[in-house]
């Protein structure tokens, strides 16, 4: 696969390490009332959709950026890629 890195352009997927579902970004509030249950969910449960999936790819053999890649798990078509840092910041600002 080729991953369209937002800074470096098209890069071979083998330069990346797959980190999994993008919801890893949403670490639960450790002070919340159901923190333990929320963390169990966060640590152990993942969606495994047949279709469009947002996932984290770490450019380990490259510039060490984490990317949020939107990919179809059926066709491997890549619909977009952005820096995970931008994604996470937008998320924290309530942008998503």
């Amino acid at each position: 696969m080729l991953i369209p890195h937002p800074i470096l352009g098209s890069r071979d997927a083998r330069e990346f390490t797959y980190l999994g579902d993008v919801r890893l970004v949403d670490r639960p509030d450790p002070t919340g009332p159901d923190a333990e249950a929320a963390f169990c969910d966060y640590v152990f449960l993942r969606d495994n959709p047949a279709g469009v999936h947002r996932e984290l790819w770490f450019h380990e053999q490259g510039d060490r950026s984490c990317l949020v890649v939107t990919r179809s798990t059926i066709t491997h078509d890549i619909l977009g890629a952005e820096l995970a840092r931008d994604f996470a910041l937008a998320r924290k600002r309530g942008g998503e």
């Binding site: 980190l19 639960p28 450790p30 333990e36 963390f39 984290l56 984490c66 995970a84 840092r85 996470a88």
Partner: protein, 977 residues
């Protein structure tokens, strides 16, 4: 001899080769198959299941029958298709799947038992008793079946892998492919042509038709010259594109020196990963047979293959041939062979309206209904309108039509589409993006059509890539018809083979139908149709057609099979691409590696690193002697150990302290500048993950260490945390593991030694106490970092210098410390020292232990959040009562074995009574006996108790006394000295 005139072999040179020990000769340009045919050899192998005598069936990579063993010794390779094995001087080939000889094969008795061996036989027969499958049935079946044998020796040849990028990849060097390359080459686009043959031209080489009134080889030669002159064109012969992968990535194998007796200084094969913006699939078409009774005798082959052998290789299996066809193409074979002086006994054309295209007898509306000749064809039975006659011939060319080679178009699950006029599956519209099928692969069966479609596809691809191109002038060529009739098999009672390689007959398909294995996926698996190494290139469509007839449905209703990579078999060796033995993975060397090697160190692999395990002296005959000596040197004088492999991460920024607070279970932001703190990391699921030290060099600058094994993983997690979890923090991290050489200087005389190399730095206990750190200058101007930390429990330091100075620093320390007894020590002594001190290592931090189990429960701060903090309080983790303890044998000479399980004395030994296990064990020179660390239920409250360590694997059991996990200086006075 059955060598004809003409052909594309070089008769100026003779090549000697052997087949089953017998000497033959051929010419450069021959394949093993063509040379054998030219030598009158029709029998080349035995079939997989019934051990039926078989000859060559095709002239290309689709070959199901003529599988042979090539070469000898370590280079012996089984299951090689004789049709693609290029002849070279001294080639040694053997037939396979026969005993004692090809002519007389004892297992041919299977053929007599064939009524028992039909589809589903294994499923039905070898069911009971169940245990017999593994013990008896499977080994026996495997021995009887199977094809070639392995040499059982290591592959002596080198393999390589490479990466290529291009605008247009053209797959196949026949007329369509060449027209595509020609178009793209002249536009200046970066073009790669990959062709599986050793000579460009594809089907043109097998035909007599002319281009612009001249032999096709003239046109091909002119193109080859032009391509060679263009820097933007790369022509790769002997290169098979075997798979289409995501986003325009193609896998290809180049057989660099398969055609040589020995590769010499070349690699044997290269695995190419080609990234192409567009690809043009000019893979041609494969002829299919018509199934009839006893259609597998040596001498019966595809009509197009027979023509190829005659035209390209001037070889013919027999002086008298016949052709059985359902289409016009079969007549070309008769015409060309007659022109070469071969006697054409008859052309049996299943179509009633068939007419001769030359001077030969045509039996219109005829069917071949039988054959004779045990080891080679002697005669065929022809039935016409109820009348039967036997026609003598040594070879029969069969043409049931042509199947476009759509394989690569279905590698992304693209489904071929049935074309009624061509009676064939054509590439569907849902093939891989950017892959354009052309020529015969797209159903264009005349040369003129293929040339045009190749050029047009290239223009389309270039337009999409915004590269200007002009249509080339294509040579004048034939616009021939094809006219295929839908006849796939001839009804009859005797066995008619569909899949030759897996011995699947029409009868097997009938059984599958009768037993309701009708969906094509079931049909395949029940009968094994198309599941041999040829992936059913000559059999799948015929099998489908027969099933369609049985079910009374159309072929597209019956289904289609799609193909997966590889197009043709790929060796494991080339997939490894040379990454074998020491090249299997990168080997990392420490900065003092060469020095250690010169000292005679014994090395051990730890992950990718090669680390010095111990440094034997000449008088030492056992590793324990060396390790004991090194350990004692650290406890009594000073030892030196390269610890550069520990992960080092530089953490900088205003929020560095806060960031580390969230990563480590204990508090890090309160650490004073110039001090070091031990840190414990948890995984988010609450288990202990990694440990190391955090040194604060400045308010906004920390240097943290990780274990050697987790260096990459911890750094990755830190980047994840920084970018994904807390992007708002002002912090940057970078791995500096390879940038710094770090040497542990440990032992009571370590301060004395270091004093001799520092440039005016106060090492006194007051100025530089335990857990201090500093940046300083050593050895007269070299910048360094010094940490007063101890893994051994002794007064100890770790000194870091830029990696390139590691070797020199080690030499300097050894020199300066000679009179102090400075001794290098390896990871074995390092481990003994840490077990003696009770520090946890990889055996304790194994991903299943909690902080409390490690005796580090207090390091999990309850005042702040950190990764794993919430989950570490889960009931299951918080309730784990196992604790780390020290273990010592009751008898001084007793053994402590890591992995042993711990039980109360006298208790039965089972899972319910299991109380823990020993994680680490070693001989302790300090204690004078073996010692161990282990996890034990309520271990911290059972000091002094005697327990049993059971080692059932060795049938051993030992009484051990539970002691605190600190065998050396439990108060920690030495390291604070």
């Amino acid at each position: 001899m059955t060598r004809l005139s003409g052909g594309l072999v070089d008769r100026s040179q003779t090549l000697n080769f052997t087949f089953d020990g017998k000497q033959y000769h051929g010419y450069p340009g021959d394949t093993l198959a063509s040379a054998l045919l030219a030598n009158g050899v029709r029998l080349m192998g035995r079939s997989f299941k019934y051990h039926r005598p078989r000859g060559v069936f095709s002239a290309g990579s689709e070959e199901p029958n003529a599988l042979v063993e090539l070469r000898s010794g370590a280079r012996q390779e089984p299951n090689t298709r004789a049709t693609v094995a290029e002849l070279f001087e001294g080639l040694v080939a053997r037939s396979q799947n026969r005993w004692p000889s090809l002519g007389f094969d004892a297992l041919a008795v299977n053929d007599l038992l064939s009524p028992f061996f039909t589809a589903g036989f294994y499923y039905k027969t070898f069911m009971w008793p169940k245990a017999f499958w593994e013990m008896l049935y499977e080994p026996a079946i495997r021995k009887a079946a199977g094809l070639g044998s392995l040499s059982m020796q290591a592959d002596p040849d080198a393999y390589d892998k490479g990466f290529l990028h291009c605008d247009v990849l053209v797959i196949g060097g026949g007329p369509a492919g060449l027209a595509a390359v020609l178009t793209a080459a002249r536009s200046g686009a970066r073009v790669i042509l990959a062709d599986e043959d050793f000579r460009l031209g594809g089907r043109l080489l097998a035909e007599t038709e002319t281009l612009d009134g001249a032999p096709a080889t003239d046109w091909i030669s002119a193109l080859e010259t032009e391509f060679e002159s263009l820097p933007n064109v790369r022509v790769m012969r002997r290169t098979t594109v075997f798979g289409v992968f995501d986003h325009g990535i193609y896998g290809a194998v180049e057989r660099v020196s398969d055609h040589l007796a020995e590769p010499g200084d070349k690699v044997r094969q290269t695995l190419w990963r080609i990234t192409a913006k567009r690809a043009i699939l000019a893979s041609g078409a494969t002829e299919r047979p018509i199934a009839f009774a006893d259609n597998d005798r040596p001498g019966i082959m595809l009509a197009g293959a027979m023509r190829a052998y005659a035209n390209r290789w001037a070889a013919c299996p027999s002086k008298t041939i016949a052709v059985f066809t359902n289409n016009d193409d079969g007549h070309r074979t008769a015409r060309d062979l007659a022109a070469k002086g071969v006697h054409v006994a008859a052309v049996i054309d299943a179509r009633r309206e068939a007419r001769a295209r030359g001077d030969y007898r045509v039996i219109a509306g005829g069917m071949v209904t039988g054959s004779r000749g045990r080891l080679g064809l002697r005669a065929i039975e022809v039935s016409t309108n109820g009348r039967r006659e036997w026609i003598e011939c040594g070879s029969l060319g069969v043409s049931g039509g042509w199947n476009p080679n759509v394989h690569l178009t279905s590698h992304h699950r693209g489904r071929p589409v049935w074309n009624e006029a061509l009676q064939a599956f054509l590439p569907g519209a849902d093939g891989p993006a950017g892959l354009l099928p052309v020529g015969a692969a797209a159903g264009h069966f005349s040369t003129a059509q293929t040339l045009r479609s190749g050029a047009e596809a290239a223009l389309r691809a270039l337009t999409e890539l915004a590269i200007a191109a002009a249509p080339p002038v294509l040579p004048q060529s034939e616009e021939s018809g094809y006219g295929v009739a839908p006849i796939f098999h001839v009804a009859g009672k005797k066995r008619a083979w569909v899949d030759f390689q897996n011995d699947v007959t029409v009868k097997d398909l009938k059984i599958a139908h009768a037993e309701n294995m009708r969906p094509v996926e079931h049909l395949k698996r029940y009968t094994t149709l198309g599941m041999a190494t040829d992936q059913g290139k000559t059999s799948n469509v015929t099998g489908l057609a027969v099933m369609a007839e049985l079910t009374g449905k159309s072929i597209p209703e019956t289904g289609t099979t799609i193909f997966r990579p590889p197009y043709t078999p790929v060796t494991i060796s080339v997939l490894g691409g040379g990454d074998t033995g020491p090249h299997f993975r990168p080997r990392r060397l420490t900065p003092t590696h060469n020095w250690a090697e010169a000292q005679g160190a014994v090395f051990v692999e730890t992950g990718q690193w090669m680390r010095a395990e111990y440094f034997p002296r000449q008088s030492e005959t056992h590793w324990r002697q060396s390790v004991d000596r090194e350990t004692k040197a650290v406890r009594s004088a000073v030892g030196l150990c390269d610890v550069s492999t520990l992960g080092k991460v530089d953490v900088q920024g205003a929020d560095a302290g806060e960031f580390l607070n969230r990563l480590y279970s204990n508090v890090m932001d309160t650490l004073k500048v110039g001090r070091v703190r031990y840190g414990l990391m948890l995984r988010e699921d609450g288990f202990a993950y990694d440990d190391g030290t955090c040194a604060r060099l400045a308010e906004d600058h920390y240097v943290v260490t990780t274990t050697t094994a987790n260096a990459g993983l911890v750094y990755r997690n830190m980047e994840f945390a920084r970018q994904c979890l807390w992007p708002e923090l002002d912090v940057q991290v970078i791995s500096t593991t390879d940038a710094w050489a770090q040497i542990a200087v440990a032992g009571p005389k370590s301060r004395a030694l270091l004093t001799r190399i520092v440039d005016g730095f106060d090492l006194s206990n007051d100025a530089f106490p335990f857990m201090a750190c500093a940046e300083l200058v050593v050895c007269g101007g070299l910048r360094a970092r010094l940490f007063r930390i101890s893994f051994s429990g002794e007064l100890a330091f770790e000194i870091a210098v830029p990696a390139r100075y590691g070797h020199a620093l080690m030499e300097r320390l050894m020199q300066a410390g000679a009179d102090l007894g400075a001794t290098p020590y390896g990871v074995e002594a390092l481990s003994v020292l840490r077990v003696e001190k009770g520090h946890v290592g990889g055996s304790e931090l194994n991903g299943q232990s909690t902080a409390a189990m490690l005796g580090l429960g207090k390091m999990v701060s309850q005042k702040k959040d950190a990764i794993g903090a919430v989950m570490s309080r889960r009931e299951g983790l918080a309730g784990d009562i196992r604790r780390i303890v020290g273990l010592q044998p009751v008898e001084r000479a007793g053994k402590v074995v890591a992995g042993s399980h711990l039980f109360t004395v006298g208790a039965p030994q089972n899972l319910d009574t299991d109380q823990g296990w020993i994680t680490s064990a070693c001989y302790s020179p300090h204690v004078g006996s073996m010692i161990g660390l282990g996890f034990l239920e309520n271990g911290d409250q059972r000091i002094g108790e005697v327990i049993v360590a059971a080692n059932p694997v060795e049938g051993e059991s030992e009484r051990l006394r539970i002691v605190p996990a600190h065998f050396v200086d439990p108060e920690g006075a030495r390291l604070r000295d």
